[in-house]
């Protein structure tokens, strides 16, 4: 078997390093079993009030008011799909955004950065772990959603998964830039928390964006994620899309094409800035 030593970098050694980082993150995640379990259960605590809120508006013909906006009266499947996609946004903001900060707090960032691999690879490894853990959590959440709220989809799951790919690549590209910004700001909890909540809300994770007031609607429509949420719901639930699907897919591909290199560029600039200022270990 040819050597994949990190001292002689090759694509294989890079892949090995990324997988080792992903494995490390996965082990850390499952070392706190109660927290891991609550990552699946906690969203149900937020979704259950939505379910009963829907019940308090439902007449004998179901949620006709909701159907007038969306084309479906299955509001719980609409919200559950939004919650799954919002999980990935939260993973990028909290997981990726705090990836470097957590290492800084634990005092291992400097030693990790001495490793003979490109520094962006540290984030690639964390991205892989984050994607795997979030997918695992989301699957658990959908299973609970199916058991408790009758979650069901009827459309083309493969096409929806294909649409998810450019959206996730773009999101994690943004995560690179965001991780670097958090590294720069250090005390960024409120910024991360508020940004995560606002972006999920404006993208329509819980409701059709048509209900937003005039002041907020342009912000929502300016977010490429809004079209990702919309296209996936259109394919899986038969919801009336905001734009024709091919336009929404083009927006997502454009988002990916811009955000991925931009995220990498911002990360490199801030990394250099931190090195020059010598603030890597300060927190």
């Amino acid at each position: 078997m040819p050597s994949t030593s990190l001292a002689q970098p090759t694509w294989r050694s890079y892949i090995r390093a990324a997988l080792a980082i992903a494995r490390k993150d996965t082990i850390v995640f499952f070392r706190y079993p109660a927290n891991a379990l609550f990552r699946v259960i906690e969203p149900i605590a937020w979704l259950t009030p939505m379910y009963f809120l829907g019940k308090s508006f439902a007449g004998s013909a179901g949620n006709t008011g909701f159907a007038a906006y969306t084309g479906t009266n299955d509001y719980m499947s609409f919200i559950l799909l939004g919650a799954v996609l919002a999980n990935y946004i939260a993973a990028v903001f909290w997981g990726m955004g705090y990836a470097l900060k957590s290492e800084m707090d634990a005092g291992v960032l400097e030693s990790n950065w001495m490793a003979p691999i490109p520094r962006a690879l540290l984030l690639v490894g964390q991205t892989l772990a984050s994607l795997a853990i979030t997918t695992f959590n989301s699957a658990g959440m959908l299973l609970l959603g199916w058991l408790l709220f009758g979650f069901q989809v009827s459309g083309n799951a493969l096409a929806a998964a294909l649409i998810l790919i450019p959206m996730l690549v773009a999101l994690y590209g943004f995560g690179f830039a965001f991780a670097a910004i958090v590294l720069l700001m250090r005390d960024a909890n409120t910024m991360v928390d508020v940004s995560n909540y606002l972006i999920s809300m404006l993208a329509g994770s819980q409701f059709p964006v048509q209900v937003l007031p005039r002041l907020l609607l342009p912000l929502s429509l300016a977010l490429p994620l809004t079209y990702g949420f919309d296209a996936i719901r259109a394919l899986l639930l038969g919801v009336r899309p905001l734009l024709a699907l091919h336009y929404e897919i083009a927006i997502l591909i454009g988002f990916m094409a811009v955000m991925t290199p931009l995220g990498y560029f911002v990360f490199k600039r801030i990394e250099r800035y931190c090195q020059m200022r010598g603030t890597l270990s300060m927190h």
Binding site: F66, F207, P208
Partner: protein, 290 residues
């Protein structure tokens, strides 16, 4: 030795001395709060942000012309779903803040390595918690006032139109309940350590059963039984009825009596639980472990 740090009436310390200790701890906590501007900023942002998602969802469920609002009105007595949700959310956020702040107070001291040294002070240990709780209470009052103001200005939701006096009475009775729950929670966190998971569990139970964003009447029977045991259900119902339906004493007396009973029971329960956990931690010698 134990008598020096026992209850003030047994240890021969005056209540004025104990009060001074409480105020000193409150001052220390206030200084820490002010040192983190992002905490102050959060106080202005979350009151509006958290209920917004539920309000927009309710708007979507109501339909473009509000055609589904009739059913909501039959269940709640009001078409003003925004005010209905805002009132429930404010009370829930208050409990959530108390769980995080009072509940995590001892845990944070434990994590910082200062709990054991604080425990050695010749002060009643309950004063240590009361001092922390006093600052959080001030922050909570600020939070509620900011919420009322922001909803009035930003969303035009006017919450002070009904029977403000009885709503205020319900809120006053809720203060010892929320802090009693907070102290009981702090004791459990001290014992079981996994604080985040416990906050998620406790606040989740209140979120699901107390009718924060929906009328309790839509819950299935077994869930309504659980809702009837939780004090926040009565607080939310009383405040909503007073402010949105201008309910008087005759309609609210039952809720207020239950709240009064909980206002005595919850701090007592917190105190007893704290005593048990504290004694257990000293016996096992794991007070400083986390």
């Amino acid at each position: 030795m134990d008598t020096h740090i026992a209850e003030p009436w047994r240890a021969g310390r005056s209540l004025a001395t104990e009060l001074r200790a409480v105020l000193m701890i409150a001052r220390k906590e206030w200084m820490i709060f002010r040192r983190y501007p992002s905490w102050v900023i959060a106080l202005f942002i979350w009151p509006v942000l958290m209920p917004l998602a539920y309000i927009f969802t309710a708007q979507a469920l109501g339909g473009p012309g509000g055609e589904s609002l009739t059913r909501f009105q039959q269940l709640t007595g009001t078409r003003d779903y925004a005010a209905f949700i805002v009132l429930g959310s404010i009370l829930w956020m208050w409990l959530n803040m108390t769980l995080w702040d009072v509940g995590m107070y001892l845990r944070n001291e434990q994590m910082h390595g200062t709990l054991e040294s604080n425990w050695l002070c010749p002060t009643w240990r309950v004063s240590l918690i009361l001092g922390g709780a006093l600052t959080k209470l001030l922050v909570s009052v600020a939070f509620i006032l900011i919420s009322l103001l922001e909803f009035r200005v930003l969303l035009g939701v006017h919450l002070l139109a009904g029977n403000v006096g009885l709503a205020l009475l319900a809120l006053l009775l809720t203060i010892p309940i929320v802090h009693g729950i907070g102290i009981a929670f702090a004791s459990l966190v001290l014992r079981f350590k996994e604080a985040n998971a416990m906050v998620f569990l406790v606040r989740g139970i209140f979120m699901i059963f107390c009718g924060i964003t929906f009328p309790v009447a839509v819950l299935p029977g077994w869930m309504q039984v659980i809702a009837a045991v939780l004090p926040l259900t009565y607080a939310i119902h009383a405040v909503r009825a007073a402010l949105l339906a201008n309910a008087g004493w005759a309609e609210l007396s039952a809720d207020l009596l239950v709240l009064g009973a909980y206002a005595i029971a919850a701090p007592l329960l917190g105190y007893i639980l704290f005593g048990i956990v504290e004694r257990g931690a000293r016996r096992r010698g794991d007070l400083g472990q986390y």
